[in-house]
């Protein structure tokens, strides 16, 4: 029997920005259908790794593949095959909410784009903002738009950087339910977040990164250990590494 290829394979990845080492020899394997939580203090290297895995940044050393695609050699294929919600909710300033989703669906060559746009506009309750240009949308609505843009082509894998930030509790809940169903249906999720309470309800496996090194890795139960919840475990792990 052949070996199952992991959905995400990271081997000894390092990233330097001048004299600053953002990532130092990170190795990870994430299976298809896994909901993976990636946590760490501010500036620990979470977003840097997410950007490398989505072809937005090139690693200084090491290699990585997503859905079997080499992220350094074929970043466009990775972007086409996955959905990405970036750290900052920054849709184009001068397109309306509807136009942004239209733009994304055209760039991604999505079949039946109009129906899918309507679906996600309704899902995120953006119909009232259809004609508002993005710079005039609230932060929350801009975030919803970025998430909708990442889901519109129904990818097999999602990379989410703080997806719940700026969303009100109603939409946090709605997105949580959707992501759970997505993962249960075989979709793979790689999520960076500081909202550990939400993450605890969603993630199968987690890793904690600090100063460019992975300092804890395993199933949710393994990482939580004897602690009452993930938040306590996280504080203990990071403080222990200081």
């Amino acid at each position: 029997m052949g070996r199952i290829v992991p959905a995400i394979h990271v081997e000894n990845v390092g990233k330097r920005f001048g004299d600053f080492t953002a990532l130092d020899g990170i190795s990870l394997d994430i299976d298809a259908g896994e909901f993976f939580g990636f946590f760490g203090p501010n500036g620990a290297g979470k977003t840097t790794l997410l950007k490398i895995l989505t072809g937005q940044l090139r690693p200084t050393s090491g290699s990585a593949s997503v859905l079997g695609i080499d992220v350094t050699k074929e970043p466009l294929k990775v972007k086409a095959a996955t959905g990405i919600v970036p750290e900052v909710e920054s849709p184009p300033s001068y397109l309306t909410a509807y136009e942004y989703l239209y733009f994304v669906s055209r760039v991604r060559k999505v079949d039946g784009g109009e129906k899918r746009i309507a679906k996600w506009m309704e899902f995120f309750d953006l119909d009232d903002s259809r004609g508002t240009i993005c710079k005039d949308l609230s932060k929350g609505n801009r975030q919803k738009l970025m998430i909708a843009g990442a889901l519109i082509h129904e990818p097999r894998m999602l990379f989410l950087d703080e997806p719940f930030i700026n969303l009100d509790p109603i939409f946090q809940r709605k997105l949580k339910v959707y992501l759970k169903e997505y993962s249960d249906g075989g979709g793979t999720v790689f999520m960076c977040s500081h909202l550990l309470e939400i993450a605890e309800k969603l993630c199968d496996n987690v890793a904690v990164i600090n100063k460019g090194h992975i300092i804890a890795r395993g199933s949710l139960a393994e990482v939580r250990g004897k602690h009452p919840d993930l938040e306590h475990a996280f504080l203990d792990i990071v403080e222990g590494d200081a």
């Binding site: 466009l76 920054s90 849709p91 001068y94 760039v107």
Partner: protein, 481 residues
Amino acid sequence: MLKEEFRMHTSYSSRWMFLTFPILVLLFSFGIAYTSEQIFQNTSLHDMMLMMHISVFIYGLSVGAFGFLGNQYQERSAGYRNYLVTQPSTLPMSFKSTFFGMYLRDGVFYVLLLLVPMAGGLFLSIPLTGFRALSILSLFITALLTFFLGMSLSFFVSTIYIRSRVAFGAACAAVAGVFAVGTVAKLVPLDVLLPGLGMQYRLSPFAFSSGVEALGFGGAAILLIILLTAGAVLLVEDRFESRHVETDDELITQDRRFSGFKRYGTLLAKEVVDLRRSGLITRMAFTYVIPLLFLAFTAWFIRNGLALPVGFNTVFYGGMVGFFGVTFYGWLNNIDHTDYLSTLPLTVPQMIKTKLLAYTLLTSWMSVIFLVAIALVNNDLRLMWLAIPVMIIVSTYIVVMTAYLTGLRTNSFFFDPGVLVRFTVLSMFPDLGLTILAFTIDRYFAYALAGIALVVGALGISTYFFYRGLDKKWGMTDFGA
């Protein structure tokens, strides 16, 4: 703010490369001073000063439009970048003080980057040229006054734009009217309109006994600068809410319109929508049309004002028009942030090519209209058959070459001396060649035509290679980097 500006520019190249820029200006100035003896054989010092002050004034005008810039930073969401000018929303600062801060910041920035090294180059040449240190100092002070007058006027007029578009139009017309009265009708001497120039003409070596008069012009320049700057600051309003825009879905219509451009159609449609909604299209048209008018004025001034027998013809204008495409391409790269594009299956070269297409569609008709108009005014339609292809090829060459050198960060990369030197060499030689050939058309038609064909052919081939090279040079670059 100065630190912010410095860090923004150095983030595109490096601290070392950025700091090389003033050294380059210093060396250039030294070179000009060293060869000044030859220059003075054809152009008098009086005319040199006039051209220098006009250039410095126009430069001040071009960098002082903080009313537009500040407004733009506040209105658009800046992606991963944000600027101090937007901070009064959350900090106890007023917009008046941040706009004034921007004015001071850029004033200091350009003086240190350009005027100080320019004067430094002249000082260094003293052992070789025998220039007097006092004359160089007076040149520096008068140029400083003219530069700040240009900046202040631009600051004032652009802040009127924030309050009222009609008043802005009226102010532009008034300024143009004053300068037209001064230059074309010669009712007001140019050294009165530019008191920095007036001061220069009343100092050594132009005059020796009118120190008081020179001080009077200097005082008038300072007063004008203070009045215009104070007026501009007063006009800035503390506006914490940006203009709210509700609109119809225009992208879909534009996308259908550009469907023939295949994979670039939707991207092109987005560029057009961005341009219309950001309001930049009018300002970009101004930045394209104003240099064209300045070119027409300079040619007119040399021919009629200085009475120099230079044979400006339509082919010369065709070549020059092409060289003005750089500013327009720079604006195209400055409409909005590009961070969100990094999450989509798009590449930087694809976006560069889209901007090049947008540039061609938006400017080619403007250039042809200008060329025909200037040919009609000069009663010189006989060479249009040659001028139009020259214009198209030069224009395409200069913009593709600029895109190759600077990618999507044109304005910032021009502060990288390595890029600037390459750009200068690649633009100046063909420019000079075409200008000389255009001037000789009437005397040696066959030779001039063969020369022009050769230069234009070389530019065409170079354009092809620059275009082909875009993928290799920018293919590995990230959006927002």
